[in-house]
């Protein structure tokens, strides 16, 4: 298919005409694509090597218990078993908090999450691991490890955990109360707050006030590839790890910390990664596989989690309780908002409540606000980042209340947001002054979209009702982080682009396109590759919507260096001053001399030294992202089931480098948001056992549950990036739950205050309303 036809089939609707780019804005085939459609691409679990052993983990059957003893003798006696490791094989670590990816971690807690120390803190908590000649023997051996427990009562929800008489998870934990350390044992790890203006004055100026409490369930990122790691602890003491990770360097740092080794002893080879969404930043298996290798005669050990392990012991993001009180004047101006958010961190502190405190009100300009956030430990797996961490549940609460205010005031929901929407120069609720950002544009495009202008379809049966909802979302993309790239010009004029940002959704092609644009050559002449941690400078994780932004800046800078060097080489060739050489569209010109990039590369050959460039940067201007979504739903009033009929996502995407993959980010975020809104939830029994640890009963949306997802890309270039890139990947998951809730309210009059809005919860809400 030629590119013109491709443009026609694409669903994108790009508002700002591309600024004379030749490569950016086109839709070339991704470089890693052919390997991925033929089965040749190697993901972490695809590594095969001589002498490979398989590792399996014994996990806790209890949600909360003290470990009295562990006896591994029966496991070690089984034929085919090579080694067993427990927490006793890990160094004892100091309590030190460090940034990892978008969040932070106390190294001691990370270590005891890998293999439990004195206590198990959730159903599925790893206790010991076994290496054996095949996975079946390893699994059998794990089941032969005898553990004696003293079972303790668990706390599963934030409400349970915050009660004064609650069972305490971490004996040493004290509340960080607005910066001061508390004095009594607690499950509340921290309480933060920001406030501005005068709440009383704000609420007294309101003609309408809505106050509601929302409860949301724990959900999982749901990547289809289970966590895996393959490790060799070499006889020379060097450790090599093949793994699926969002960042090789960050994985290396974590492995080094928990094993108390210098990073130079560890090489991480990031394999193709089958989805992460924030959940493959923290490590789970890597040091365990390395220790098993060390104790198994330095043989390679491969570990792959089962799906139950993935759901029970990795990932999830916080369940929460969120209270929102908001007032608005007759003209729609929001006069005051008071919010409190309590987020379940799981077994160790570190829920995304901090980012949720920003997300919840940041689309709006509000003079009088108070936001309180609580990070609460619970007997559930340690919370990990999940696409705009903390944002979806926060926006569900706030967007529901904004919608209700608009209804009460008789104002169209998009107009309500236009009245209050944040613009350049406004002070954000969380403090900073807002830079140029296209929120208002998303609202205007939403209002004029074919979707919003269309009539609702008729219900498909007499028992169904249809409705439309709108929701907005804000996300404060990671300001930058470090990115390092190397570029090598080959003697045939192609260019190797060596990067360390793992590619989860097509970032290699975007990097190649930015380098091609810079150099004035074709994207297909660039060979982008993600390499191991020894072969490129430090890179922060692929997270926080930072990669196309930060690594893109590094790529652009490296391209400029290459141009500079190519001009030097042409100057030598022509015996002219380099300053006289003009470089445009891949052609070097000086007076009557001119030569194309490829031809010059051939002339340089390999004899005179290659043209190479390396760049490492840490930019700090990523900027925020905003989106507005429209959704039509049909509610079966007899069964409580909600069907998504039509969905449109409108987003300020800065500049879309490869529009198809930008649309894909919007569509994927929406799909996850819809799953979160409608059916995804962790179900625990009273003892804290996870009951639905499978992809049958943890219900992520299937192809049959979703419609086509229309996208509108609003391009307001980000002025801090050479091509105007703005992170796009996370904000699309922020609005869906609120938008769907508002559509349900529009259809039924029912205001849902619980996620998921599953058939059961819908019926219960209908019955409560009827009473």
């Amino acid at each position: 298919m030629d590119s013109e036809t491709l443009e026609q089939v694409a669903s994108a609707d790009i508002s700002v005409e591309n600024r004379h780019y030749k490569v950016i804005g086109s839709r070339p085939i991704r470089h890693d694509g052919p390997d991925k459609v033929t089965g040749r691409a190697l993901f972490g679990a695809d590594i095969r090597m001589n002498g490979l052993l398989y590792g399996k983990v014994l996990r806790s059957p209890h949600a909360h218990a003290r470990i009295i003893s562990i006896d591994v003798s029966r496991a070690l006696a089984l034929t085919g078993v090579k080694a067993v490791v427990t927490n006793a094989d890990l160094p004892t670590l100091e309590s030190v908090v460090s940034r990892v990816g978008e969040g932070s971690i106390n190294w001691r807690y990370l270590s005891s999450n890998l293999l439990a120390g004195e206590k198990v803190l959730y159903h599925g908590h790893a206790i010991a691991a076994v290496s054996a000649v095949n996975p079946h023997v390893a699994e059998q051996a794990a089941s032969l490890i005898d553990v004696e427990y003293e079972i303790l009562s668990p706390v599963i929800t934030v409400d349970q955990a915050m009660r004064p008489d609650a069972s305490i998870l971490l004996d040493e934990l004290r509340t960080n109360e607005l910066g001061a350390r508390g004095s009594t044992p607690t499950n509340i790890a921290s309480h933060d707050q920001f406030q501005r203006g005068d709440l009383d004055q704000g609420f007294s100026a309101a003609s309408v006030i809505v106050e509601r409490e929302f409860t949301t369930s724990t959900v999982h990122q749901g990547y289809i590839e289970p966590h895996n790691a393959t490790a060799i602890w070499g006889t020379d003491g060097q450790i090599t790890v093949w793994t699926s990770t969002q960042g090789g360097h960050d994985a290396r740092r974590q492995i080094a910390e928990v094993l108390q080794l210098p990073v130079s002893r560890i090489k991480v080879i990031p394999m193709e990664i089958g989805g992460g969404f924030g959940g493959k930043i923290g490590i789970y298996l890597e040091p365990v596989a390395a220790l098993l290798s060390l104790k198994s005669g330095n043989r390679p050990v491969q570990m792959t989690m089962s799906r139950f392990d993935v759901l029970a012991a990795t990932g999830p993001t916080s369940g929460s309780v969120i209270r929102v009180k908001m007032g608005a004047a007759q003209d729609g101006q929001i006069t005051a908002a008071q919010v409190s958010l309590a987020y379940a961190a799981g077994a160790y502190p570190g829920s995304p409540v901090g980012s949720a405190m920003s997300v919840i009100l940041n689309p709006y300009r509000i003079a009088n606000v108070q936001v309180d956030g609580y990070d609460v430990v619970t007997n559930t797996p340690r919370a990990a980042a999940y696409r705009a961490p903390g944002g979806t549940n926060a926006a569900f609460a706030a967007e529901s209340v904004v919608d209700e205010l608009a209804n009460k005031l008789g104002i169209d929901p998009i107009d309500m947001r236009l009245i209050n929407g944040i613009k350049e120069g406004d002070r954000r609720v969380d403090g900073p002054i807002s830079r140029r950002v296209g929120y208002i544009e998303t609202l205007e495009r939403a209002r004029s979209s074919p979707h919003y202008l269309s009539a609702l379809s008729s219900p498909s049966s007499a028992t169904c009702k249809v409705g439309r909802g709108v929701g907005s979302g804000w996300w404060g993309n990671w300001p930058g982080g470090t990115s390092s790239v190397s570029v090598v010009v080959n003697n045939d004029g192609t260019v190797n682009l060596i990067e360390g940002s793992t590619d989860i959704g097509g970032s290699r092609v975007a990097m190649a396109m930015m380098l091609a644009e810079t150099l004035g050559i074709q994207a297909s002449d660039i060979k982008p590759m993600v390499v191991d941690t020894d072969s490129v400078g430090y890179n922060d994780v692929t997270a926080g919507s930072r990669t196309t932004y930060s690594t893109g800046i590094a790529v652009h800078k490296a391209g400029l260096k290459i141009i500079h060097e190519m001009c030097e080489r042409a100057a030598q060739l022509w015996n002219v001053d380099p300053g006289t050489i003009d470089y445009a569209d891949g052609v070097l010109t000086s007076g009557t001399n001119h030569i194309g990039f490829k031809e010059l590369a051939r002339k340089i050959g390999d004899g005179d030294g290659n043209v190479v460039a390396s760049v490492s940067i840490s930019p700090n201007g990523e900027g925020v992202a905003l989106a507005t979504h429209i959704v039509d739903v049909e509610v079966d009033m007899e069964t409580g089931k909600v069907q998504i009929l039509r969905y449109t996502a409108i987003q300020d995407v800065g500049t879309a480098i490869h529009p198809a993959y930008v649309e894909g980010q919007l569509q994927g975020g929406v799909a996850q948001g819809i799953g979160w809104a409608l059916n995804e939830e962790y179900v625990y029994d009273a003892q804290g056992h996870l009951l639905n640890g499978s992809l049958l009963d943890y219900r992520i949306p299937t192809a049959l549950d979703l419609p086509m997802i229309e996208t509108v890309l609003v391009e307001v270039p980000n002025t801090t990036h050479p091509f105007g890139v703005r992170g796009v990947g996370e904000v699309p998951i922020v609005p869906p739950a609120g938008a769907v809730a508002n559509a349900i309210a529009n259809a039924t009059g029912l205001r849902m205050t619980i996620l998921p809005m599953s058939p059961r919860h819908m019926l219960e809400a209908m019955w409560a309303q009827a009473k």
């Binding site: 993901f43 289809i224 894909g664 799909a671 049959l704 979703l706 997802i709």
Partner: protein, 162 residues
């Protein structure tokens, strides 16, 4: 440890003979014994479709088939979809439509899509979605996957007409 059984089968048109334990699934045989790692494990429970293969013309989860059950049978995996002449139209359309992000579900989705078009060359959007309901994708929201399959069906029927 148990004894191993010799099994003969035809995989992607090639006759192969392998040794496997009775408890090894076809998925394990493909990946660990034959080192055909294009077929992926997502759940090992029949719920995600990442391991889908075509067994005697029928779409199945290879994690729910024992290796010993395929004695004398013919199997197509993702590695057998393309021909020596090049990519299958489905593979080509997946690339053109950007119908993959991380790519872990892609082999299973492509195998399912091939089984669909083998049986129903002109599926509607609903039929595609129904057929793919057992293939979970967490990245794309399915939109571009469905477009790519519908487009491939069009291209293939145009080729047949020619």
């Amino acid at each position: 440890m148990s004894n191993k059984t010799v099994v003969q089968a035809t995989i992607n048109g090639e006759e192969v003979e392998f040794l496997c334990e009775t408890r090894q699934s076809l998925l394990e045989v493909l990946r660990d014994v034959l080192r055909l790692t294009g077929t992926k494990e997502g759940c090992n429970n029949g719920n995600c479709g990442a391991c889908n293969v075509i067994l005697e013309g029928v779409l199945v989860n290879s994690c729910l088939v024992l290796g010993v059950e395929v004695q004398g049978k013919s199997i197509t995996t993702i590695e057998g979809i393309a021909s020596p002449q090049g990519l299958h139209p489905l593979q080509q359309k997946f690339l053109e439509h950007a119908a993959l992000q991380c790519g872990i579900c892609t082999p299973g989705v492509l195998v399912s899509a091939k089984a669909l078009l083998d049986r129903h060359p002109h599926p509607s959007e609903h039929e595609v979605r129904h057929w793919l309901a057992g293939n979970l994708c967490r990245c794309t929201g399915y939109d571009k996957i469905v477009h790519a399959i519908l487009d491939a069906a069009d291209v293939m029927s145009a080729e047949v007409t020619k």
